[in-house]
C-alpha cells in the first residue's frame, strides 16, 4: 500500500515535471544537505524548529533541504544565464510541530522563472501554469506582500521606525505591536531608556554605576542606541490615516478586481504605494490575458505574511481545504541576499504531488 502510494506520487511528480519542461523549464538538480549557516542567516533561529539539522565534523552544521528555493537561487546566481526557467523534482524534509500528523518528508516539484523583462507577465505565467495543471476544485488564495512593503516605506516617519517595521513584516503580531507603539503620542518605552535628562557625562556615570563592563557589545553601541531612542522620543506618531491604511491592507479580503479599487483610495494617503499598485494592475491584466478570471480570484491583504518569509511580491496557493497542495510567489529580495551583489527578479512555486494522491489513486 505504502509502496503503491509512493509509486503513484513519483509518477504524478514526473507528469508535473514534464509539464513544466514543456512550459520551457530546464530540469536541474539540487543538494539535499545544505549549509545550515545560510539558512539560519536567512530565516533566523526559528528554522531549527522547521528543518532537520545534522552535523559533519568538517563542514559543520548541515540542514536537510526544507525547500529548493535557496539552492536553486544560489545556483542561478553563480552560474545561470538570463532569463531562465527551471524545474526540479525531489524530496524535502520538514520538522513538524509535536503531535502533528503532517508529513516530515514529501516530494516537491517546482517551477521558477528568473526574468527581469516583465514581472507582471512572469507572475501571471507561473500562476496560470499552476492553475492549468492542478485539479480545478481547489481553493485559491492570492496576496501581494509588495503592497504592505511599499506602504511601510511610504509612511511619513523616520527611517529607524520604517526599518523596525520592515524587519518584522513577516511576524504579524510583532509588526502590529510596533505599529501601535509608533502610533502613540507618548512612547513610554523610549522615555525610560532614553535618559532624556542625562548629559553625556551623566550617561557615562550611569553605565559606570551599573557595574563591571562585560560582553562584546561596546559602550559606543549603548550610546548610539540611546541617542537613537532620544531621537525617536521626539518623533511624531504615525498618523491615524496612515495607520488605518496599514490596518486595512492587513484585513482586506476581496476579489482581486475589487481590491484594486480599494488600493486607489490607499494611494491617496500613501503615494509610495503607486508602483506596487500599478504592478498589481498590470498583473491582473496579464492574468486576464491568460484566461484567469480576476473578478473571481480571491485576494487577501495579509496573505503570505507568515511562514513564507522570503516572498516580497505576488503570493499564491492552492489548497484542498486542509492541505496546501501548491504555493509560490515572488522573491526578488532573496536573489539579492544570496547573489553577493547581484540580483534578479524571480518568481516561482512548488506542487506537492502527494497531497492529491490518496491511497494509490489519484483524486
Amino acid at each position: 500500500m505504502q509502496n503503491e502510494r509512493r509509486a503513484a506520487i513519483r509518477s504524478e511528480a514526473k507528469r508535473i515535471e514534464k509539464y513544466f519542461i514543456d512550459s520551457g523549464a530546464l530540469l536541474i538538480e539540487a543538494d539535499s544537505l545544505l549549509s545550515a549557516e545560510t539558512l539560519l542567516d536567512l530565516y533566523g533561529e526559528d528554522i531549527r524548529s522547521r528543518a532537520y539539522v545534522t552535523n559533519d565534523p568538517v563542514m559543520g552544521e548541515r540542514m536537510m533541504r526544507p525547500d529548493f528555493t535557496v539552492p536553486i537561487v544560489e545556483r542561478h546566481m553563480s552560474e545561470g544565464a538570463e532569463p531562465a526557467r527551471y524545474t526540479y523534482n525531489g524530496p524535502v524534509w520538514r520538522m513538524q510541530d509535536a503531535g502533528s500528523k503532517r508529513e516530515t518528508e514529501f516530494i516537491q516539484v517546482g517551477f521558477e522563472v528568473f526574468d527581469r523583462s516583465n514581472p507582471a507577465k512572469s507572475d501571471a505565467e507561473v500562476f496560470s501554469i499552476f492553475n492549468d495543471i492542478l485539479p480545478n476544485n481547489l481553493q485559491t488564495s492570492t496576496g501581494d506582500v509588495g503592497l504592505l512593503l511599499t506602504a511601510v516605506i511610504g509612511l511619513k516617519t523616520t527611517d529607524l521606525r520604517k526599518a523596525a517595521l520592515m524587519r518584522h513584516l513577516w511576524r504579524p503580531k510583532r509588526f502590529q505591536s510596533l505599529m501601535e507603539l509608533f502610533s502613540k503620542i507618548n512612547n513610554k518605552n523610549n522615555k525610560k531608556n532614553s535618559y532624556s535628562k542625562h548629559s553625556d557625562k551623566g550617561l557615562q556615570k550611569a553605565i559606570k554605576d551599573a557595574g563591571k563592563f562585560i560582553g562584546l557589545r561596546s559602550e559606543n553601541e549603548i550610546y548610539s542606541r540611546i541617542s537613537a531612542l532620544r531621537h525617536d522620543a521626539k518623533t511624531s506618531p504615525i498618523s491615524i490615516e496612515e495607520a488605518s491604511v496599514i490596518n486595512k491592507i492587513l484585513n482586506l479580503k476581496a476579489t482581486a478586481s475589487e481590491a484594486l479599487l480599494v488600493f486607489e483610495e490607499f494611494e491617496k494617503i500613501i503615494p509610495n504605494m503607486a508602483k506596487a499598485i500599478s504592478g498589481f494592475e498590470a498583473r491582473l491584466e496579464a492574468l486576464n490575458k491568460r484566461n484567469v478570471n480576476v473578478d473571481k480570484l480571491p485576494f487577501e491583504g495579509s496573505y503570505g505574511l507568515t511562514s513564507m518569509e522570503y516572498y516580497d511580491g505576488f503570493v499564491f496557493s492552492f489548497s484542498d481545504g486542509d492541505t496546501i497542495i501548491a504555493s509560490g510567489g515572488r522573491y526578488d529580495a532573496l536573489t539579492a541576499v544570496l547573489g553577493a551583489g547581484r540580483e534578479i527578479p524571480a518568481v516561482g512555486g512548488v506542487i506537492r504531488p502527494d497531497a492529491f494522491i490518496r491511497g494509490g489513486e489519484k483524486c
Partner: protein, 233 residues
C-alpha cells in the same frame, strides 16, 4: 509494582523525601549512601526508583515509571508532547525556578524583550553575526522568543556555568533557570522585566504511557494517603 521515580541526589531529593514524609510516606535509600536503590514504607506495592531529575521526563514518557518527581521546566523542555504523555498530579511547592533571559547590567538601555529585539538588530549590523544567547533550554527559549517576535539572535549551547558566558565573550545574553538571582548578580547580569519564559517548580507527574493494569489497590492507597482525587489518566 507501581514505580515512583524521585531525584537521585541533592536538595531536590531531600525536599522530595520530606514532602512525602509529611503525608506519611517514608522514602528511604537502601544500601550505602552511594547506592541508587530505595524503599518506601507507608503503602505497599510501591517501588522507589532513584534517577537523575533530567532522566525522569523520558522515563515517564516511556512508561518505565508510573509516577515521577521532577521540575516542570524539564518536562516542558524534554517532552514536546507532554500533554499526551504525562499528567501533572500535584505541584509540590518547592524547587521554584524561573527560566529567564538576562543581559549585562551595563546595558542600561535594555529592560525588556522589545529592547533585546532592537539590540539584536543593532548588534547584527555592527558585528556581522546574530546576537548569541547561551542556554541549555533550546526549545523553550526558541518558542518564547518566537511568541514575542525577537529576531536576529542565535542560540549557543551551554550545559553549565551559563552565567559566565557573557564575560567570556562567548555570548551576549543568557537564558537560564534561576531561583534567587544571586548567580546573575555575581556575574554582572540582570533579568529582563518581561523575560520570564517559564515558571517552574517540583511536581509529581503520572505517566499516561505506563502499564497501570493490576495496580488499582496501590493507586487507591496512594491517592488516599496523598489526598489526591485520582491520578486522572
Amino acid at each position: 509494582m507501581l514505580k515512583l521515580g524521585v531525584p537521585s541526589k541533592g536538595r531536590l531529593q531531600k525536599d522530595t523525601i520530606s514532602w512525602f514524609e509529611k503525608r506519611g510516606l517514608l522514602l528511604k535509600r537502601t544500601g550505602s549512601e552511594r547506592e541508587y536503590t530505595g524503599s518506601i514504607s507507608g503503602v505497599s506495592g510501591i517501588e522507589l526508583v532513584l534517577l537523575s531529575a533530567g532522566e525522569i521526563p523520558k522515563e515517564l514518557a516511556k512508561g518505565r515509571i508510573h509516577l515521577g518527581v521532577t521540575g516542570t521546566d524539564l518536562i516542558y523542555e524534554k517532552l514536546p508532547l507532554h500533554q499526551t504523555q504525562i499528567h501533572i498530579v500535584e505541584e509540590m511547592g518547592f524547587g521554584f525556578a524561573d527560566l529567564i533571559i538576562a543581559v549585562p547590567n551595563v546595558w542600561i538601555d535594555v529592560n525588556s524583550l522589545h529592547d533585546l529585539d532592537a539590540v539584536a538588530a543593532q548588534f547584527r549590523h555592527e558585528h556581522g553575526f546574530r546576537l548569541r544567547i547561551a542556554t541549555k533550554y533550546h526549545n523553550l527559549v526558541r518558542k518564547g522568543l518566537r511568541n514575542f517576535g525577537v529576531a536576529d539572535y542565535q542560540l549557543v549551547d551551554s550545559q553549565g556555568a551559563t552565567e559566565g558566558t557573557v564575560a567570556n565573550l562567548t555570548a551576549e545574553a543568557i537564558a537560564d533557570i534561576t531561583s534567587s538571582g544571586a548567580t546573575l548578580k555575581a556575574n554582572h547580569l540582570k533579568m529582563l522585566s518581561d523575560g520570564i519564559l517559564l515558571k517552574s517548580q517540583a511536581s509529581v507527574f503520572a505517566s499516561k504511557n505506563a502499564d497501570w493494569s493490576g495496580l488499582d489497590s496501590q493507586k487507591n492507597d496512594l491517592c488516599k494517603k496523598m489526598g489526591w482525587k485520582d491520578l486522572i489518566l
